[in-house]
């Protein structure tokens, strides 16, 4: 293609205004990337402090009130300002148009507005933290948050409320783009699995986030007025809050993990040089997760006093939602079979993802099992479980995506051995941090405890030690990626090489992505055409 003459998207103006007023999806993706990296650091600093506090059973490093604010800030920032936007807002923004052969998203101005909403909400949340922060946990349970907390609840929920609209608008933008802007020949059955996962995620974003917005608005109103929605002394019901909150916040877990699954599907085929196994099943399972995921919220409430029979229904449905996840894991594993596998840095992250996500998913079965949940609910077992999904899963995949598409975004490679070292450190550090928490949870240590019984100390020390390895693992990419930006060798359009449409344009791509309208002739994972089969006869069963 004769596109080398065109300036790439990074060269289209270097002024601050050319960035802050850009409507280019790729530049907006980078704006998100800087923002969420900043928020990730804030959330990480909060975690550093409370992991240090937990080295000793007594609450001796920070006061209880400070400790409670630290874990609340960590949760709110990591969930709403990092995990939810991470892969969709950065890589979804960058890749959705490139992968389907479009010039931009359907609504470029709306896309920019989404970023400004995100920044406005994020600023309010960080501002509330500077003023004194919230101490409600990221879950804002009533009546504590509405009647008893003396912290900045109204400011924090206002921030989250605004950030929610950024999610809704981005989701809407993706849905319309995927429906209306596919290049000729890009049929639904030829869409990259990353696009399927973004599509499923966007549906959840559009349908669930408004419920969160309403719920948080009600919290703010109860703080400011005499409203009695959740206030039991006025005839309200605090459990209603939990129903509404989890109606969003359980699907929100899938907002975090579905895009990660999309990344895994792309990377694993590329580095196995093989077409993905079970395309229809992986794509379909994304939709199944999005759909069933709306009907499992009550599994957060098995001990809340809701009817035991409601507990039965939610436990049953939670078992069903695990099946599509299992299908994905089996298909990824089978994709490796008889491939030609290179354990590059992105691949190490993705294989790490599969291992950690499998543990996270299976421990999800434990907590969905009613009798076990009565014991481990609100203990460190649950903390470990969801960190295996969100950090072991979503964050691993985010780093995998960062390494995989970095050459496309910036046109430069990164130091491969440093990247592999970081991947391994993150994997080891993660397990050392969170595996002990499963043990602590089953031994009965409740979560959100500033001080704890002395017999829990050994596992807590191990966990904090792991967290320090994890912190170094996360720090490494900051350093070598910053170096790579300016100094690393140029990568060329398709360094791995991979089959997706995004790899057929220069790195970095031009402002309009494609010089003409691409025509798609084949399915996306045609690795057999790129590499063919081995001539070597093979004895494996057919």
């Amino acid at each position: 293609m004769n596109e080398t003459a065109l300036p790439n998207y990074l060269q289209e103006g270097t002024s601050l205004g050319s960035w802050l007023l850009t409507r280019d999806h790729k530049r907006i993706a980078l704006l998100y990337m800087f923002a969420i990296t900043f928020f990730f650091v804030i959330g990480g600093i909060a975690a550093t402090f409370f992991r240090l506090e937990l080295v000793t059973p007594k609450g001796d490093l920070v006061e209880a009130a400070t400790y409670n604010r630290l874990f609340s800030l960590h949760g709110i920032v990591m969930v709403w300002l990092f995990l939810i936007p991470s892969i969709p807002a950065v890589f979804g923004n960058f890749l959705v148009p490139l992968m389907i052969g479009a010039k931009d998203l359907a609504f470029p101005r709306l896309n920019l507005l989404s970023w400004y909403l995100f920044m406005a909400g994020g600023t309010i949340i960080i501002g509330s933290a500077v003023l004194g922060s919230v101490d409600t946990g990221w879950t804002f349970y009533t009546p504590y948050s509405s009647l008893y907390s003396n912290s900045h609840v109204v400011a924090a929920v206002t921030g989250v409320f605004i950030v929610g609209f950024s999610s809704i608008l981005t989701g809407l933008n993706f849905i319309v783009t995927i429906h209306k802007m596919r290049a000729p020949g890009m049929r639904w059955g030829r869409l990259p699995l990353f696009i399927w996962s973004q599509y499923a995620t966007s549906i959840i974003n559009v349908l669930a986030t408004p419920v969160l917005a309403m719920t948080l608005a009600l919290i703010a109103l109860e703080n400011l007025t005499d409203l009695g929605i959740f206030n039991p002394w006025k005839g309200g019901d605090p459990l209603l809050f939990q129903h509404l909150f989890w109606f969003y916040s359980h699907p929100a877990v899938y907002i975090m993990i579905l895009p990660a699954m999309g990344v895994v599907s792309e990377v694993i085929t590329c580095f196995a040089r093989k077409r993905v196994f079970g395309y229809n099943f992986i794509a379909g399972s994304s939709l199944a997760i999005a759909f069933i995921g709306f009907m499992v919220w009550g599994h957060h409430m098995f001990v809340s006093g809701q009817s035991p029979y409601a507990g039965l229904v939610f436990s049953f449905l939670s078992m069903l939602v695990a099946v599509p996840s299992a299908i994905k894991v089996f298909n990824w594993t089978t994709t490796l079979y008889q491939g030609s596998i290179l354990l590059s840095a992105p691949m190490l992250y993705v294989i790490g993802f599969i291992g950690l996500f499998t543990i996270g998913g299976l421990t999800g079965i434990f907590v969905a099992t009613l009798a076990i949940d009565v014991h481990v609910h609100d203990t460190y077992f649950v903390v470990a479980h969801f960190h295996y999904i969100m950090v072991g899963g979503a964050v691993m995949a985010y780093f995998g995506a960062l390494h995989f598409w970095w050459p496309k975004m910036f046109g430069r490679m990164y130091p491969e051995s440093w990247a592999r070292l970081a991947a391994i450190m993150i994997f080891v550090g993660f397990n050392l941090t969170f595996f002990p928490q499963f043990v602590l949870g089953y031994q009965g240590m409740p979560r959100r405890y500033h001080s704890y019984a002395p017999e829990f100390q050994v596992w807590n020390v191990l966990s904090s030690a792991g967290a320090s390895i994890l912190a170094v693992g996360y720090l490494l990419p900051f350093i070598y990626m910053a170096w790579s930006w300016k100094y690393a060798p140029r990568s060329g359009p398709n360094p791995w090489p991979a089959t997706g449409l995004e790899w057929q344009v220069p790195s970095p791509p031009s402002k309009d992505n494609f010089s003409g309208i691409p025509h798609i002739e084949d399915e996306v994972y045609a690795y057999d055409q790129l590499f063919g089969k081995s001539d070597e006869p093979h004895s494996a069963p057919s």
Partner: protein, 312 residues
């Protein structure tokens, strides 16, 4: 090596819960090892050095897809069924002969009240080998009463009674935690459950501090709060008498009926207009804010103690 110890099993359910947990641990552990093993094996066997080009490009195989989906589903449903069976046992209504205790959660302490009027703070003495029922209520935010050695917890709500029950099997002293985050000193809302042999427990009860039974305290309250000026023992048209009504159905002004239980008594004290007994006027003022949860429990115990009394 205390940190490697399996948590104590001190209730009738504890072993059941551990069994499900251990079986799930074995099956899941096997699944993780299988998947991790396959991935490592494939990465070595089909590494790019040994295998510069892929051998095979099979796209999909329906039998495999169906096979592993069914196996996964079967395992998940097995976990569901077994867990649900135990859950329904744990969370069903307590047996009638259960020793009944009241618990009040407040920021940041647990208050317990025994039937004989004994009160404890952050400590709960119970007999072993006998079902113990705890009626739970919170004075402020949501708390959760958690006894890891019993493998049991239940949330404690404001303005609504919930209930939990267990049967301690092993004498000893066990952690009692608040598991639902409840504010600044959440991690200090902890205490001990002391399970005692029945004879020791009787002794312990026998050392009562002479505050009188809860019902007697309730009787005093009923007099001092002025309840008896309307709720007179002789039948009047102003308000119904407490005798013989507990546990029985009562007809309401709107034509429906309800059973006089703890929740109804509590509601009638705090929100008297909600369910007025037929043939009486809605004349009673609300006691919300003028009466504590402990006092409501004492009055309830008093009304309960009059259950055998003939009404009118």
């Amino acid at each position: 090596m205390e940190f490697l110890k399996w948590p104590q099993q001190a209730s009738a359910f504890a072993a059941d819960v551990d069994h499900v947990f251990i079986v799930l641990l074995i099956v899941s552990g096997g699944a993780v090892l299988l998947i991790a093993g396959l991935i490592v094996f494939f990465c070595v066997r089909y590494s790019r050095k040994k295998q510069p080009r892929p051998v095979h490009h099979t796209n999909t195989k329906l039998s495999l897809e169906i096979g592993w989906s069914v196996i996964a589903l079967a395992f998940f449903l097995f976990a569901f069924a077994w867990g649900a069976r135990i859950y329904l046992q744990m969370y069903r209504t307590a047996p009638d002969d259960a020793y009944a205790v009241y618990a009040i959660g407040k920021q940041w302490m647990w208050k317990f009240q025994h039937p004989d009027g004994r009160r404890e703070i952050n400590e709960l003495h119970v007999p072993v080998n006998r079902p113990v029922k705890i009626n739970l209520i919170s004075q402020d935010v949501i708390h959760s009463l958690y006894i890891p050695a019993f493998r049991l917890k239940h949330d404690v709500l404001p303005m609504a009674y919930t209930e939990m029950w267990f049967e301690p099997t092993l004498p000893g002293s066990y952690h009692l935690f608040c598991a639902e985050y409840c504010g600044t000193s959440h991690s200090e809302m902890v205490g001990q459950v002391i399970a005692m042999r029945p004879e020791d427990f009787e002794n312990w009860l026998g050392n009562s501090q002479g505050m009188g039974s809860t019902a007697q305290q309730g009787a005093k309250l009923v007099a001092s709060l002025g309840c008896t000026s309307c709720h007179k023992s002789e039948s009047t048209s102003i308000a119904p008498w407490f005798g013989g009504i507990y546990g029985k159905p009562v007809e309401l002004a709107d034509g429906t009926s309800t059973v006089v239980n703890d929740a109804y008594i509590r509601e009638s004290i705090l929100n008297p207009q909600a369910k007025v007994v037929r043939n009486f006027q809605p004349a009673m003022p609300s006691y919300q804010g003028r009466i504590t949860e402990d006092e409501i429990l004492s009055i309830t115990a008093y009304i309960k103690s009059l259950r055998e009394q003939k009404n009118e």
